[in-house]
């Protein structure tokens, strides 16, 4: 599901006209489309209002796969013209009447097909040309809400996109009235950009790949195994075709948990063959000790050759067997292995 955010209702007007958004009673100015696929939030103007509103929504509705902020922005450089539409690359923040830039920034997902620029969210309306010039060192346009939405989206780990339309150029002083007069035009352009850029998106995300694997009937993944699966999928950038090839190599048993374990081992080898080889070598070293009932643990970072052995002695015969296993273990070979003799 997608959350569409606007600072003002006027900016969202074309969306209300095009789509059947109905109020969602959980929060004022929060709406749900009839398909249930899109939600729309009016955050109000200013970063504090936006942060409060979006945080509320994300606290009770946790199903968003992406957030898109739409809105107007003021140009900070002369190279931008009114009604130009951009994808925002990074959101910065300027605080106080002096528009002091704050360190924390939020990178956004950029939208292919639109030019990319940076946006600085200001706690104040920026009308003074001197302040505009000052902010132009850090960003290309100024708005009133994006940074806060970025903050909340990051906390919730939801990808954020922003489409901004230039509402006023650097020299425009009475831009508020202009925006009001042209609001439907601005809103229609934002809607057009949304239709062009998002409605035909077909690319499978990693999450979709993950869902596909965990829903396979021959596999059962525990919570920690699901975490490992996510990690491997993310590290390897593996495609579904490659994954299918790996799954075909696995000898499927009746035990679905064992199948999941085998798939993770295969993915581990795929993701890092050297480490897999290292673990097999360690297994080889420890095999005889383990078979005799001596549990061996080694430094997991491989920085030190030290080993920790634990065992129970059950009889004299058991003791002799373990002593024999220890005598057969070559600590020198182990040390050489740690020092790179593979």
């Amino acid at each position: 599901m997608i959350l569409l955010c606007f600072a003002h209702r006027a900016e969202a007007e074309a969306f209300f006209v095009e789509k059947d958004f109905r109020p969602d009673n959980r929060l004022k100015n929060f709406y749900k489309s009839s398909s249930g696929e899109e939600f729309l939030l009016i955050t109000g103007e200013g970063p504090y209002s936006a942060l409060s509103k979006i945080s509320s929504v994300l606290s009770f509705e946790k199903t968003f796969s992406k957030i898109i902020n739409f809105g107007t922005a003021g140009a900070l450089g002369n190279q931008y013209e009114k009604l130009d539409v951009f994808s925002i690359r990074t959101a910065y923040l300027a605080e106080s009447s002096e528009a002091l830039p704050q360190f924390k920034s939020f990178p956004l997902q950029v939208i292919e097909g639109l030019p990319k620029i940076d946006c600085i969210t200001s706690t104040q309306r920026i009308k003074d040309p001197k302040l505009k010039h000052h902010l132009s060192s850090f960003a290309d346009v100024v708005d009133r809400e994006l940074w806060s939405i970025g903050f909340a989206a990051k906390e919730s780990k939801i990808p954020l996109y922003a489409i901004k339309i230039i509402s006023d150029a650097t020299e425009d002083l009475d831009f508020c009235q202009d925006v009001k007069n042209n609001s439907f035009k601005l809103s229609s352009l934002l809607l057009k950009a949304y239709f062009n850029l998002f409605t035909n998106e077909k690319q499978k995300t990693k999450d979709e790949l993950f869902e596909r694997v965990v829903s396979l009937s021959d596999f059962y993944f525990s919570t920690s195994q699901k975490r490992s699966l996510k990690k491997y999928l993310s590290e390897t950038e593996i495609t579904w075709t490659e994954l299918e090839r790996l799954i075909k190599k696995i000898h499927i048993e009746e035990n679905n948990k064992a199948n999941a374990k085998k798939l993770l081992e295969t993915l581990s080898e795929f993701s890092s063959p050297e480490f897999h080889q290292l673990r097999n070598k360690v297994k080889g070293f420890m095999e005889k000790l383990e078979k005799s009932g001596i549990r061996v643990s080694h430094d997991q970072t491989f920085e030190s050759p030290s080993l920790k052995l634990t065992t129970d002695i059950k009889s004299l015969q058991d003791l002799n067997c373990k002593v024999q296993a220890l005598q057969n273990f070559s600590y020198r070979d182990w040390e050489d292995f740690i020092n790179g003799d593979l």
Partner: protein, 330 residues
């Protein structure tokens, strides 16, 4: 090349500044009081260096010459690095600058006379020391724009006990070719197998070009150093290093290389986080990495010791003097 160029107001009318501005391309020129009022004031994502790179022309203040960490160079002499720039035009995936500065924007410091004064003071306190350029930026890549090499050459020519290392991944040797070789000037090149360099040394000169530059400078009489660092373990890496060293030996007799450093790819925690974010599909397979003795993330010791030993053996096989090889940051 650059989006905005910020120039400190005290420098804007200097002839060196104007020379630099004439040589570079940019969209907008902005005069500022001090670069540090803007640079790193906001966290600018590293990958914006690809499409929104700014340049600052500034004066370096504060610490200009810094002592290098242990295992930085060869021998027992003291090693220092001096700061003539921040950030680099190249984009090497493992580069520590991505987690070091909070902005990829480039700063070129133009007060070279003051930098040399500091080098001179340090050199007097610590005779026979090494001074390395290229800790925070490639030392040759943009030298045809910045034009500072002759100034440093002049100083080290008159101060033969101090040694200068110019470290690079470029093949831009123009600034050096018109200068005379010095016994205390070492031009050092970082090399990786060509396929690895192609995939991870983004925008840096191809290995073929770097090897040609090595040959060119060596024939002119310049002292050459080599950094086989970072070594990246990938499929058939042993064969790739064998080919690289053989290729190198076809451009310069390995025995005539002044020193060779070898080091395996490593990351501090901050850089590791940035790297994982910036290059999720990198060929540097970090799932093997462990937190090692100095809290940096590296391959497990058996893997990296094996790699270092093998590369060392290859180098000696091709004629390197074992005493001229050192392990960097190990």
């Amino acid at each position: 090349m650059f989006n905005k160029v910020f120039v400190e107001k005290d420098l804007v009318n200097k002839s060196h500044t104007q020379d630099v501005l004439k040589k570079i391309r940019f969209n907008e020129l902005i005069t500022i009081d001090r670069y540090d009022n803007i640079f790193e004031k906001v966290k600018k994502p590293y990958l914006q260096k690809r499409d929104n790179l700014n340049l600052f022309l500034a004066k370096k203040r504060g610490e200009i010459v810094k002592e290098a960490p242990d295992a930085y160079g060869l021998g027992k002499e003291k090693h220092f690095y001096f700061i003539h720039a921040y950030n680099c035009i190249y984009e090497c995936e493992y580069c520590y600058l991505q987690g070091y500065f909070n902005s990829p924007d480039i700063v070129w410091f133009l007060n070279h006379d003051e930098i040399i004064k500091k080098i001179d003071g340090t050199s007097k306190t610590h005779p026979n020391s090494w001074f390395h350029a290229g800790e925070f930026s490639d030392s040759l890549a943009v030298s045809h724009f910045t034009n500072e090499i002759p100034t440093y050459h002049e100083y080290f020519k008159g101060n033969s006990t101090a040694k200068l290392e110019l470290r690079t991944k470029s093949s831009n040797t123009r600034a050096l070719e018109s200068l005379e070789p010095l016994s205390n000037l070492f031009v050092t090149f970082s090399l990786s197998p060509k396929e690895v360099a192609k995939s991870i040394d983004k925008k840096a000169s191809p290995i073929k070009q770097r090897l040609k530059a090595i040959k060119r400078l060596h024939l002119l009489g310049f002292k050459i150093g080599i950094h086989l660092d970072p070594i990246v373990i990938e499929n058939c890496w042993e064969k790739s290093y064998q080919e690289l060293i053989e290729d190198l030996s076809n451009h310069i007799p390995i025995s005539e290389i002044s020193f060779i450093s070898i080091g395996v790819v490593r990351f501090t925690k901050d850089v590791f986080l940035q790297f994982s974010k910036n290059y999720p599909s990198s060929n540097i397979r970090t799932s093997t990495f462990v937190k090692s003795f100095d809290n940096k993330f590296r391959y497990p010791k058996p893997i990296r010791s094996n790699a270092l030993r093998l590369v060392r053996e290859l180098l000696t096989h091709y004629g390197a003097n074992p005493t001229n090889i050192y392990e960097c940051m190990e």
